[in-house]
């Protein structure tokens, strides 16, 4: 029940109020953030499937082609779940670094897919204008969530 409510909240917040917090027209990717935190405690195949659902929703709420975020989010869900198995500590730093990596990878995957399928804006300027700021914002918001979870003692090592 809680993940569904969180998902609904993220979907609505991402497409209504979040633009007011955007910097230079770029906002953090809350879908990716929620997927990241859920995938930390999931099996890789389940995390991929969750990425599929999140991606479909994000694509439906966007003007882009259906399947664009499905691809990147299911891949990121898989990678998060896979790498989280290697985290034998509840420290914030490794999770923060993993989130930063996932955020940059997610943006880069989307950029490459867009370039391949739609041949839109040039690679490097778009990477610097959208991918990096988005990854930075997502990671900063993620860090706040990590600190909050750590304070509540909710960061666990995967069994």
């Amino acid at each position: 029940m809680t993940p569904f409510v969180l998902f609904l909240g993220v979907a609505v917040f991402q497409s209504t109020l979040l633009y007011q917090l955007s910097i230079g027209g770029v906002k953090p990717d809350l879908f990716l953030l929620l997927l990241f935190f859920l995938s930390l405690s999931l099996e890789a195949d389940l995390a991929s499937f969750l990425g599929l659902l999140f991606g479909l929703s994000q694509d439906a709420l966007s003007g882009g082609p259906l399947g664009l975020k499905v691809f990147s989010l299911s891949l990121m869900g898989f990678l998060t779940a896979h790498f989280s198995e290697k985290l034998y500590t509840t420290a914030i730093l490794p999770r923060f670094m993993l989130l930063a990596l996932i955020a940059v990878l997610s943006g880069t995957t989307t950029l490459l897919l867009l370039r391949f399928f739609l041949d839109l804006d040039p690679l490097l300027p778009t990477f610097l204008r959208i991918v990096l700021p988005e990854a930075l914002l997502t990671t900063v918001v993620g860090l706040l969530v990590l600190v909050f979870l750590k304070m509540r003692g909710a960061l666990e090592v995967k069994p």
Binding site: S48, D59, S62, L118, E134
Partner: protein, 290 residues
Amino acid sequence: MFLRFILRHRQVAVLSTILLFSFLLLTFQVRQVVPAIDFTRKVLLISLSPFLRATTFVVSVVTSVWEEYIDLRNLRQENRRLKEELERLKGEVKTFRESELENQRLRTLLELKGQTPTKVIAARVIGKDATNWFKTIVIDRGSESGVRRNMVVIAPGGLVGRILEAMPFSSRAQLLTDPASAAGALVQRSRTTGVVAGYQGLTTRLKYLPLFADVAMGDEVLTSGMGGIFPKGIPIGKVAWVRRPTGALFLEAEVTPWADFSKLEEVLVLAELPGQETAWNPSQGNEGHL
């Protein structure tokens, strides 16, 4: 044997299937509009749009309650100031009556010139694009209110974009700054034509200008009417800069849109235009989408 292999590598198999599925989805959409994919997209958006509408409503209610509270605190001071202002305004009303009469006369002249008025549908913006890659908005009017795909969306400043898809009670509009958007454009001063296309979701670029075209900073840019979607003469924006890249075939110019797309709250959808009824046929031309 194969089944055992799949079971052993279940996680990779699931991921590969999903990636293949999304890759195929993308491939089909690039080649043509697939009704099943379009339908799926609409179902997903329709199911989420009530929540978007509710959130926008709650936020506007909370904002107005807060503003009223602030207003109450300043009420006493404002009351005194308003009484003084009232006396001043009484004098101005006499002047405005004269202006109103003049305005009525001019409006009658304009009506004669325009012959048929354009029907518009007013809509409230209830959602923005969920990604940083595309620039679209969701409005609270859909096919039930007469909104159709490719209808033109404007704001008081000028052109906003076009309707990308119309659901029964909401629609998605593609902004001019969307990287996949394009509109035939005309430089008002020199009558040079080009194509205004979205660039990185922030601004727009005026493309396909001849190398020696007469375009300068500050020139006003309007829709040219070519392409069959956007009618001629809607303000797009002002030329911010012009560049002549060495070895290039065309001039490059950046156009700053009139309308501030990040602060859009209400828009108008042009429902019909005199003599351009066929312009709403989505199968026509490539203008509006690169």
